[in-house]
Every structure is written in structure tokens, then in C-alpha cells.
Amino acid sequence: MTVGTKERVAAGIGENAPRPDGVAKLSGNFAYGSDLWIDGMLWGATLRSPYAHARLVELDITPAVVMSGVRAVLTQDDVPGRPTFGQVEPDQPVLCDGVARYWGEPVAIVAADDQETARAAVEAIIVEWEPLPPVTDPDQARAAGETYRDMVIRRGDADAAGSVVIEGEYETAIQDQAPLGPEAGLAIPDGSGGVDLHVTSQWIHIDHAQIIASLGMEPDDVRCHPVGIGGAFGAREDISLHIHVAMLALRTGRPVRIVYDRTESFAGHVKRHPARMRYRHEADDEGRLVKVTVDMVLDGGAYAHTSHAVLANASFFTVGPYKCDNVFVDAAVSRTNNPPAGAMRGFGAVQVCFAYESQMDRLAEVLGLHPLEVRRRNALGPGDPLATSGQIVEGSLPTLRVIDELESIPMPDAAIPDDPRRLPGGTGLTTPKDAVVRGVGFALGLKNLAFSEAFDDFSEVLLILTPAGLEIHTAAIEVGQGLVTICEQIARTVLGIEAVAWLSADTSQIGSAGSTSASRQTQMTGGAVYEAAVGLRDKILQQFGGDELTNDGVYDRGELVATLDAVTADGPIEQWVRYRHPPTEEPDEFGQGNPHAGFVVAAHRAVVDVDPELGLVRVVQIDTAQDVGKALNPQAIVGQLEGGIAQGVGFAIMEELIVEDGVILNPTFTDYLIPTLLDMPDVGSRLIEEPAHWGPFGAKGIGESPTISSTPAVVAAIRAATGRPLNRVPVRPQDIAGV
């Protein structure tokens, strides 16, 4: 008789299991999409519109076609199938259809023997434009009925009134995901009319559906393969070069590679929707919300992309994690000639969080309450109706606890630092210590988990147990957040087997895992791994008559009854699942119903040093308490919290795509500034574990929360230091200096 060790499997849930991609990334050996290479490949390049709105008068590709080394020059006439694409509604031409509707819209594509020739060929194409006046004001577009979606929320009594009224107008600018890895793709013809497409993506199955439509091909003819992602943040949820690179490969019969340069990347992916929001909060004398009335417009830019879902989020989270019985929202997302907007971390919840948290601060100030006290008095919790849709909050929502835990984190040293690099202005040496004023600000944020509004949201996973261990087959995309590690940890803990390998599948090998977005993969693909692992374990235990599975094999009441070799003697054992979260509903015409699968809440406290005269800021420390459900990998969570805070700090004080007449003025890293290590504050974090009502071990997705409320916390801190109203993000030096 052999007695098992009965030790918990190593690197299971709750541990800081190392990332399989960690060393490769740190040592420069990880293959990103932009590293894709195959012998004999051609290079692609793209001709783009120099206007935000213009009619294509003449397009003569002949000078490019006749160039030595040019293998193909394609235009909209060459699109074999559906001439348009789009995730929700296919409204964007694959290549310009005669009218360019945004700056940088692709017009023609070239494949050539090398990159230089491809670029030269693009420049050789003769193109004549008739500029048209661009529509750049989202309010005007809305007034003209040019919207992708309008949302109306009517909940409660329109005549309800509070004794305290706070009115404010807020604006958020365009933030770019600014992933360091640019858009990249390699298309390889398969020799029998089909094509293999290796492309940067967050969701290869939704890409696949759009690609085959525009190529006019059968699903089996096109395979999308995941590649190494150098940052996503929503920028890879929509098609960029996918169809182009496949068209060029199919036309030439040779592999074709396209990698965007930095400026093309800024032009070539969707951005965070800029927003204008008009808020009216009414509260009683104790600071309890009585009524919230909101009118807002988001600018969706030239094509639909995910605008309709972003608007839903902005509308449903317009009050934040607070109770209120009377809520009236009129919201729209406009069609303009500005850069197309779409998914970015926080997805509509970011813009309104800046507005509602600014409102809550002003309410606290009017009533003489601490900013956290007014939030405590209104905190939304399990069993409460969401202020907007009226949906009863199911599962956990520790709003009060995130506030309490946030307050328990020690404040930084009160002394202004001596090191000039840690003062506002940094190495620019602008600011003496005695010109610095410190401020502290707070914010909370609310986000939905996974897809909403009756979307059939699922993830497929196939587990295969072999003598070597467990294989996880999935098309879910790791974008750097740590999904691979988390799923391996889940499988280890459920199966008791340490040897677990993640094997990325292409679109022909397995069904969709859904998008790596919406804070969903830990719960969705993690949930699929959990469910499949439980099924696999139970099947094996039943077959071999055991009560426990470990690295050694099957045990029955402490006795090893079958080794892993014996278990897999007749071949690998498989378990496939398609995992779904609890169903959600379409809201009614007044936004009422149960559109969400669950919620996650976070709180941030920002401490900033400000030079009020020059309007410069150094963020000293940001602390956060985050609702995590269950911490499957605490280190990975802290990584998400810190990274999300960096992005939130960026949006608060520097990150803005500046667009004039529809043209992006700063599409480079020289002028689109993201925080460096010197701009990054110290971070203190607390993880609140109250299990979610679905998903593996009660874990919640936490990827978006850190970005949502860190921005308003920083702005609140700058307000506290300066007394300026600061109703727009990012806050610019002239806003603080008042010039």
C-alpha cells in the first residue's frame, strides 16, 4: 500500500505562481506579433486618407503597380466578399468606398518584396481628394440625428426633489490604449485556396467571422491564430489590418506581413470615447441621493465598432456604486468624422466615473462631510437595486468594505520630498519645495463583469489529460494580464496535477473563448477550465473508483488505486465545455431590467504634490482597495492594480489625443505622453475577498477597475490642493495655473 503525500498541489490557486511567459518577456525572447517572420514573405503597406472627410476624386494605382518589386496593389474594388466590416454592425469599408470619413482611413494596400518598396509604392499611387467639411462636434451630430445609439433611462419619480442640488458639466478627452506592440499580422496562403492568419487580436473568433465575410470564403478556408500581444487594452478588439493582409496574401499567393508604425497605430485602432456629461445630483440634508439626472453625449467617431455597448455602460454606471431611487438619463453616442472610438479598458464606465465622483465630492463639500462619508451613506450593496436599471445586485459587492480598507492603508510621509525628481516638474527642475501644495482625493468605481444585455457570452475549453500531464486547449487570448497562469492554477487545484500546459488553439480547432476584455476571462475561460477540470476529475474518480486525484494518480481513502500512467493507459482523457455566465436580459425601452451578469467595485485614494503656479503635478501615492472575489494569484492582481493605476494617472494628467478638424495632431510617443517610472506613484493595495456568485472559486475579473476610479481620485487630490474646479480630464497645466 502506498500512502499519498496529500500535500496541496504546488502553484495552485492563491499562490503567486510564476508566469510561463515571464522570463521570455524579461529577457527579450518572447515573440510578439511584430516579430512574425517567414522566408519569402512580402511586406504590406497602407495608403491612408490625409483628410477627416473627403471625396475620392481619382485613384490611379498604375504608378505603383509598374514599380519593380511590387506584387499587388489593391483597392475597394478588389474586396472579394462583403465590402464592409464591423463587430456589431458592418459599416466600415474594408478600403475607402469613395468617401473618406476619418483621418487615416485605409484607401489602398500594397504588397512588395521589401518594406521600403512597399512604402514607396504607397507614395507613388496617384490620389486626388475633394475635401468635405468634417463633422467634429458630437452635440451637433446628435442634434442632427447622427447617432449610433440613444439610451433613455427612466427610473422612479421625475418629481422627486432633494434639498441639496449639485449641477456640473464634465468632459473627458480621447485616451489612446497606446500599446507598445503595434498592430501586426502575417497571412500565409495554405496552397489550396485558404489562408492562415497570424494576427494581434483580443478575440480571434469575432475577427474570423468578419474576415471570412469580406473575403467571401467558407469558415474552414481561413484560420486565425493567436500571436504574442504587446499590450491590448481594447485596441485589438476591432479589425485593423486583418482583412488587408489576407487579401494581399490570397492575391499574391505568397505570405504577407504588415506591421503598423507608431503613427499608423495611433490612426489604425479605435480609441476611448470622448464624452460631454451634464449632471444634476439632488440629495437630502444627510447627503443621501434623492435624484440623479444626466444628459451625455459620447463621440463615436466615423464608424460604429462597439459604440452601442460603450454607451450602455456609460448609461448604466452613470450613478456609480451608489443607491438612488430616481434616475433619469438621456445619452447618445454620435457619428462624426473624428477618429473611430471603441473599446478601451473601463469601456464607458471611465468617463462617467470622473463625472459622478466629481459630483459626490462637491456634495460632500456642500454638506461639510468627509468625501468618504458621503460615499458610505450611499453605498450600493448586495440586494440593493442598481440606481439606473433597478437590477438587484446579486452576489458580492463590498462597497463599504473597500472604503474601510482603503482608509486603513498608511498615508505617505507628510514631508515634501527632497529629491527634485520626486517634485512636480521632475528632472525639469521647475519647482522648489516651498512652491508645493499637497492634496488628497478619493474615488470609487463600479463596473460590470463580462458581457451584458442578453449577449450569448461563452468560452470553450478542451482539457486533455495525457501521461505527461494536462493540456488546456483554448482560443482565449493572453494579452499580458496573466490569463494563462490563472487558468493553469485553476486546473492544478481542481485536478491535483501540477504538470499543466496551455496550448493556444486557432479558430479551426475550438470554438470561441470570447473576447479578452470586459474583465471577463478570469471568470469565463477560468470558469470553463474549472468546470472542465471538475468534469474530468469526477469522470476519472468514478472510472477508477477513487476519491482524490493527485500528481501520483487516483487515491481511494488514502490508498493509491491507479497511477496517472494507468489512468491514461487507454489514451488521453478529454473534457470539453462551453461555459456560460448567468443569462442577462435586454433592458426595456426605459433601461429597466437585468442587463448585467455581476459587478465589481474598487476605491482609490490619491496623494498628489502640486505646483499651483505652474500647474504641474507629481502623484506621490495611490492606494486602492479592490473587490477581487477570490485572489487566485495575488501578485498578478497587484500587477493589474498598478498597471491600471498607471493608465489612470496618465488619463488624469497627461494622456490626450489632440484632434483638430478630425486630424490627430500628436500621433507619436514624442507628443502622446504616457507616464514613465518617474511619474508613477507608489501604490498600496488591499484585496477584498468576498466570493462572486459565479466563476471559479468566486474570483472576479479585476482588469478594468484600477483604471476607472484612479483618474477621478487624482483629479480630486489636485482640486483639494488648488481649489480649482477641474471639470475636464486630462487636467492640463493651464487648467491648474488658471491661465
Binding site: L429, T430, E660
Partner: protein, 267 residues
Amino acid sequence: MDFLAAGDLSTALDARAEHPEAELLAGGTDLMVEVNLSYHRPAGVIAVRSCEELLEWEGRRIGAAVTWARLEDGPHRALAQLARTIGSPQIRAAGTLGGNVATASPAGDGLPWIAAIDAEIEVASQRRGTRIIAWDEFFVGVKETTLAPDEIITAILLPEHMPVSQEFAKVGVRNVMVIAMVNCVVARGEDGFRVALGSVAPVPIRAYRAEEMINAETSISDAALTEFARIVSDEVRPISDHRSTEAYRRHASGVLARRLVERCLAA
């Protein structure tokens, strides 16, 4: 495109004389960005970064190819301060003071220092030999200089009397690795304060009226400093663009100049 890596100055000058259409490459931190991001295609490139003569730095003569990394550790305080603010360590290891002068960007961080200390630009050509140009005759417009097509900048020449104190500051929205919204050098010599600013005009400028005003004060009061800052703000000629506004640049110019005078006084 022809490429020549010149090992010494005379080779570089010969090549420059023969190929005035070619562009000079030192650190490449401007030129290569143009090539890589803007698809700029130089007709030819003459690399001068290995020319010994340009790497020398002795006393009042700073070779044109001296890098920011060396200047950062050098004896001139404001020059070291500004060198630290340029790009990342990789950029500072490659980029040069001469390249900054040659590019003549309105935001060039080295230029206000040259203006504040009244440095001269030494240039050379095969046919005409060496020529020395006052800084305010060298910079004539946005990225425009009086360097002739066959000439190479060989050194920055410092004056005989260097200031007793010199201070630099630069405003940007990021605390490091940022293009200046305004940059400023104040130098204090035996003849008083000199105030130079960048990013607030097509070329680096001196705030002569403000200098005159502050240098006429026998003891510098708060009121005098306030008036001084006001004159600096009035004297600069900034524009509004995607990096900042005219109003903010005027405001920040005055604030920086005043604070740097205070730093010079405290030094």
C-alpha cells in the same frame, strides 16, 4: 542613398564639399526619427560621430559631437541640468550638443544655454576653413540656421568670462523624457543677469528688456521680481500648438525666469 562614415574631420569636410545634398549624422536622435517615422529619405548621409576633432572637449571649446551623457557630468551647471532632461539614457548616450544646434528646433534644450552665456558656433568647410558665428546670427528661424550646405558645426565656443552662477529649468507635462513647453536658462555674471528662453519663439531668445530691468535694481525685492516676471512674459513670442497655449507659455516663462533668478541669488 550613399553613406560615408568619416573617421576624421577632413574626410567629412571633403565629403560635405562633394555632396552638399547629403545630411550629417552624429547621434542620429533627430535624423533617424525622421527616417523611421516620417519616411524621410536623405540623398546621402555623412556620419561624423567618429571624428576625433568633434569629440574633443577642452576648456572653452566643446566639440560638436560631445554627447548629452558627457555634458550631464560636466562642470557647467545649467548645461548639466538640461542634459539630464533630454530623452532617456539611451538618447543621451547618442545625442549631441552640435546636433541640437544643427537641428535648431525652437524647443532645443541646449539652445537657451548657448544664448544665455553668449556662446559662439564654430563651423568649418573645405573651401573657406573655419568661421565663427555669434549664436544670434546662427539661429534664424524654425529649424533654420546660417550653416552653409558645405559646412559642418565643429564646436561650441564659450566666452572668456563664464557666469558665476547658471540655472536651468524646463516645463513639460511629464516629469522626465518630455519636449519643453518652455525652457529657460538664467546666468548671473559680473555684468548681471542674462535670461534666455526656448520654445517661446521660432529661435532661442534673450529677454533683454527684463535683463535690463532686473540689472538696474540695486537690491532685488519681491516687487522687482514680480515686475521682472511680467516683462519676461511680455517679451516672449510663443504660439499655441498641440503642446501648450500661448497664454500658458507666457505665464510659465515669467515664473521660470523669476525662480531661476532666485536660484542664482541663492547659489
